[in-house]
């Protein structure tokens, strides 16, 4: 190889680096200042004792030692993982199904799309107000009324240790069904009709079309939805605070609820920061796994 092309290549590369840098810059400045620095700050607080009022004192690893002996931590971690593992797959499955249905040319499509979007705009306060009467455990509760027609129930909903978490999951899915549907829809819109036309000519059935065309082509979107919904669900806070307050008997107490209480109700910001560092590690672990696994099923380009 002559000298010239090599130089040319590295020059090209340098040009690309510069372009990348410039493209990143506006976001990166703000990101470092307003996202990264506070995050690092809260990480560091995890190694201190701090009641928010007097200045923090260095505590080494004592917070972390305490966390692993803390029953409430294990309880909330277990609840959170339960929530994530049941809610996320169900939610994504339903959202994708709905997105596929609403991507068709059917009557009233726009109406359905808007309606599924509505729960997203409900504040968590109104969610509690709506769902608490619905989920009353007597036969008078509206849901139980409905189920009694089907000769089922009455179910205790949030008033039993076994039923509380499934009830919260139900409301969580109700709230976020439309959210992920909107993102899936955007992904589906990006698929060219020509693929489907070709499939039709080949005489492929709907399932085959889904597994061979739709799913691979929206896999980058699916990956995004998977990662963000897991991150989001691990941080469940609003829903349980207003719906169950973490009860009964801590059955729906979540890690972020505990973190919030530790910081702002027990005045242990250092401990709360340490707890969130542990939560961070857990979420990070799951994200890395997904990233690794994604190489097998996500088709970029």
């Amino acid at each position: 190889m002559s000298k010239l092309p090599q130089n040319y290549v590295s020059q090209q590369k340098r040009k690309e680096y510069l372009a990348a840098f410039l493209f990143l810059l506006p976001n990166l400045i703000g990101f470092v200042l307003f996202m990264l620095i506070p995050t690092v700050g809260s990480f560091l607080l995890g190694f201190t004792d701090w009641n928010l009022l007097t200045s923090p004192t260095f505590a080494g690893l004592s917070n972390f030692k305490e966390i692993f002996a803390d029953d409430l931590f294990w309880k909330t971690a277990g609840n959170t993982i339960y929530y994530v593992f049941i809610k996320v797959p169900l939610n994504l499955f339903l959202s994708l199904l709905l997105a596929i249905l609403l991507n068709r040319k059917i009557h009233g499509r726009d109406l359905f799309r808007v309606v599924t979007f509505l729960p997203m705009v409900c504040s968590s306060v109104s969610i509690a107000l709506i769902w608490r009467p619905l989920m009353e455990s007597s036969e008078q509760g509206l849901l139980n009324h409905f189920f009694s027609w089907l000769h089922m129930g009455p179910f205790p909903w949030i008033n039993s240790i076994e039923w509380a978490m499934p009830s919260v999951i139900l409301v969580g899915i109700w709230k976020e069904l439309g959210y992920f549907m909107v993102i899936f829809l955007a992904g589906l819109q990006g698929i060219s009709k020509t693929y489907y036309e070709a499939a039709e000519i080949d005489g492929a059935g709907p399932i085959r079309v889904f597994t061979h065309i739709t799913f691979p082509l929206i896999s980058p979107t699916t990956f995004f939805v998977f990662v963000t919904s897991i991150i989001g669900s691990f941080q469940i806070f609003d829903l349980t605070s207003v719906l169950t307050g973490g009860g009964p008997g801590n059955a729906t107490n979540s890690m972020v609820m505990y973190i919030y209480q530790a910081g702002f109700r027990f005045f242990r910001m250092g401990y709360a920061s340490a707890l969130s560092l542990v939560l961070f590690v857990v979420i990070f672990f799951f994200t890395v796994i997904q990233d690794r696994a994604s190489k097998k099923w996500v088709h970029y380009d």
Partner: protein, 276 residues
């Protein structure tokens, strides 16, 4: 989209959708219905989906009890800056993360993702101290800055940009397009559905932003809508009929914008028809 579907399947699909419609819509409608009820009615006819009468007293009371227009305007201001800023900076960053190569790209991207993994309740205090140090407390900048730079938008757009066929860009390179023109003329127009999605999600988040607004904003003239509304349930004696009227008022604009964003989704199909 797939040619003919069996009539039974169509019926089944409709039944499923109508069922979902009721499951999802009824609780939402209940919010609207409650906004017309009297204080008594909220409790005595709590399930009623049709109020005794559609009077506007609650709406009037909401306007009387707070400078609703001012709060609304503050929210509109903050939201529009955050939406625009997020679309612009995330799209650019996402372009770098998806189409350009540079050392440490994936590592940096993971750093972006990492900041999503820490609960904001914990970042609140460090953020507060940062804003105090910058002299930005009690300004809308606090909400603007914490709103724009979340990794969420960058991640969303990065994933969509990955889906755009490389050949299109390669053709543009042959035509002598630089990075910026390729970004503006090829990537952005092809990403309209994704940009519309990000717009609506960003809007939703910033419109409902509560925790940060609560702590960073103090003066009445700077209060956002969510903050103003939260005061309606500020004490133990809550008038839920007013809360629901205010809630309905505050979510109408988002629903309206979502409705108009629908058209961009459709537009997106037409344009991306070139793909593949």
């Amino acid at each position: 989209m797939i040619g003919k579907t069996k009539p039974t399947t169509v019926v089944f699909i409709y039944l499923f959708l109508v069922f979902l419609f009721f499951v999802i819509f009824v609780p939402f409608w209940w919010t609207v219905a409650t906004s017309f009820k009297t204080f008594d009615e909220v409790y005595t006819r709590s399930y009623a989906l049709i109020p005794n009468q559609f009077n506007l007293d609650n709406y009037r009371a909401v306007f009387d009890s707070m400078p609703f227009g001012m709060y609304f305007w503050n929210t509109v201001k903050v939201s529009s800056v955050v939406c625009l800023g997020t679309l612009l900076t995330s799209a650019m960053a996402a372009y770098a993360f998806s189409r350009l190569h540079f050392p440490g790209r994936d590592l940096l991207f993971f750093l972006y993702l990492s900041t999503l993994m820490i609960p904001r309740q914990v970042v609140l205090v460090p953020n507060f101290i940062l804003f105090k140090w910058m002299g930005l407390l009690d300004t809308h900048w606090t909400l603007v800055f914490t709103g724009i730079f979340t990794a969420y938008g960058t991640f969303l757009l990065r994933q969509f940009f990955f889906g755009i066929p490389r050949e299109l860009e390669e053709a543009a390179i042959v035509d002598g397009y630089g990075y910026f023109s390729r970004f503006v003329r090829i990537i952005l127009p092809l990403s309209k559905p994704a940009l519309a999605t990000l717009l609506i999600i960003t809007l939703l988040n910033i419109w409902n932003e509560y925790l940060y607004a609560l702590v960073f904003i103090n003066s009445d003239v700077k209060r956002t809508l969510t903050l103003g509304l939260s005061l309606l349930r500020g004490d133990m004696d809550v008038q839920w009929n007013l809360v629901m009227a205010a809630t309905t008022l505050s979510i109408l604009p988002i629903v309206a914008i979502y409705l108009s964003a629908q058209r961009f989704f459709v537009e997106g199909i037409a344009l991306t028809g070139v793909k593949g």
